[in-house]
């Protein structure tokens, strides 16, 4: 097992960066946009609207838009706000880190739920912040939530690394 102190850390980061670039490049292809990103973003808007209607019935989702029927305010969930990029970063970090596949899969499932769960909170909070104050909305949208989502990814990864079994002790080098 790789520890964060091991020399393999360089290999981990190279794999992490390559995976990230490949996955991000794949995400930008028209095929991925049509069959994955757009449907996912629409689902995110629908889920957010469904959750909001528990306490605010004046909300509906139309495509990737979340709209208030009371005052007409709407937010459109664009690239960077649908959690896909954050998920790609987490995916790359988990896949690049040497671990049994069972742990990787468990980490991915739990991690994606954690990242997307916080992202739903981001969308809903921005929807209401925008109705309250556009300056605060801009700040939260452009800077604060971006940092919080990446902090979420980092914490999820750290928790996952903490759950990994210890590596077997390395054999002592043979003496010549």
């Amino acid at each position: 097992m790789l520890t964060v102190e091991s020399p393999s850390v360089i290999r981990f980061f190279v794999q992490f960066l390559v995976l990230q670039a490949v996955l991000f490049g794949a995400e930008l292809t028209p095929w991925a946009q049509e069959y994955f990103v757009v449907p996912w973003t629409n689902t995110l808007a629908a889920l957010s609207a469904r959750l909001v209607t528990f306490f605010d019935p004046n909300v509906l989702a139309a495509g990737k838009m979340l709209q208030s029927t009371a005052n007409g305010f709407a937010v459109s969930i664009e690239s960077g706000c649908n959690g896909v990029e954050a998920t790609i970063v987490l995916l790359a970090a988990i896949l690049a880190f040497p671990a049994p596949w069972k742990h990787r899969l468990m980490g991915l499932v739990a991690g994606i739920v954690a990242v997307q769960g916080l992202n739903v909170i981001r969308v809903i909070s921005l929807f209401y912040l925008g109705q309250w104050n556009l300056n605060v909305f801009e700040w939260a949208h452009l800077y604060v939530w971006q940092a919080l989502i990446m902090l979420d990814v980092l914490i999820v990864w750290l928790v996952w690394v903490r759950t990994l079994p210890d590596a077997p002790a390395a054999p002592a080098p043979a003496r010549a």
Binding site: T3, V4, E5, V9, F13, F16, Q20, A21, F24, G25, L28, S79, G80, E85, I88, V89, L142, Y143, V144, Q146, A147, L148, I149, M150, L151, V153, L154, I155, L158, V159, V161, R162, D166
Partner: protein, 195 residues
């Protein structure tokens, strides 16, 4: 919040607003080196396109040799403003992580992390500028910029990568690399210590 990781997260959440305030008001100074990186790149790589790069607060203004689409015969030239804050919000994240961990020589780590992030902030700003003149401006402007189709594709990718991935990933990666001993300690669990 009884675990070391929980305590660490709590400290990050406390430091984050402080770091954001310092970053926001300090951005004109913090981003000053980015202007010089951009000026060097523009001077060496885009001498026919960019005539100067100026900084006002956290905004970078690229003066170009391109003419407005409807006034090709005039002496007017296009300038493009890019908000540097959009590409540097990883700085307060990195600072909050460093201050929450508070490892020995944390001031040095802060300085190293800041220096590491500068070229990536420049990447984002430059890609934003190039996207403006090569893709999103009117056809008369984009045609003057002279980029081939594959170059526009590359600019689009660089812009997306520079705006959606790098601003948050670079500080996180830098923090992990500069806090390996701290991460080892975070990873320790009671049963591991007893084993």
């Amino acid at each position: 919040m009884r675990t070391p990781l929980g305590r660490f997260l709590l400290k990050v959440v406390v430091w984050l607003p402080v770091a954001f305030v310092v970053w926001y008001f300090g951005a004109p100074v913090l981003l000053w080196p980015v202007k010089w990186v951009l000026a060097v790149i523009a001077h060496t790589g885009l001498p026919d396109l960019v005539t100067s790069v100026e900084q006002t607060a956290a905004t970078f203004t690229f003066a170009t040799s391109l003419k407005p689409g409807d006034a090709l015969a005039t002496s007017a030239h296009i300038t493009v403003d890019v908000d540097g804050l959009l590409y540097s919000f990883g700085m307060p994240l990195f600072a909050a992580l460093v201050l929450a961990a508070r490892e020995p020589r944390w001031q040095r780590t802060l300085a190293v992390g800041y220096a590491v992030q500068l070229p990536f902030v420049a990447w984002g700003v430059l890609a934003d500028f190039l996207k403006n003149i090569a893709i999103t401006s009117g056809p008369l402007v984009t045609s003057q910029s002279g980029f081939a189709s594959w170059q526009r594709e590359l600019i689009a990718f660089a812009f997306q990568f520079g705006s959606l991935i790098l601003p948050t990933v670079v500080p996180a990666v830098t923090w992990v690399l500069t806090h390996r001993a701290f991460l080892e300690r975070l990873r320790e669990r009671p049963e591991r210590q007893q084993a």
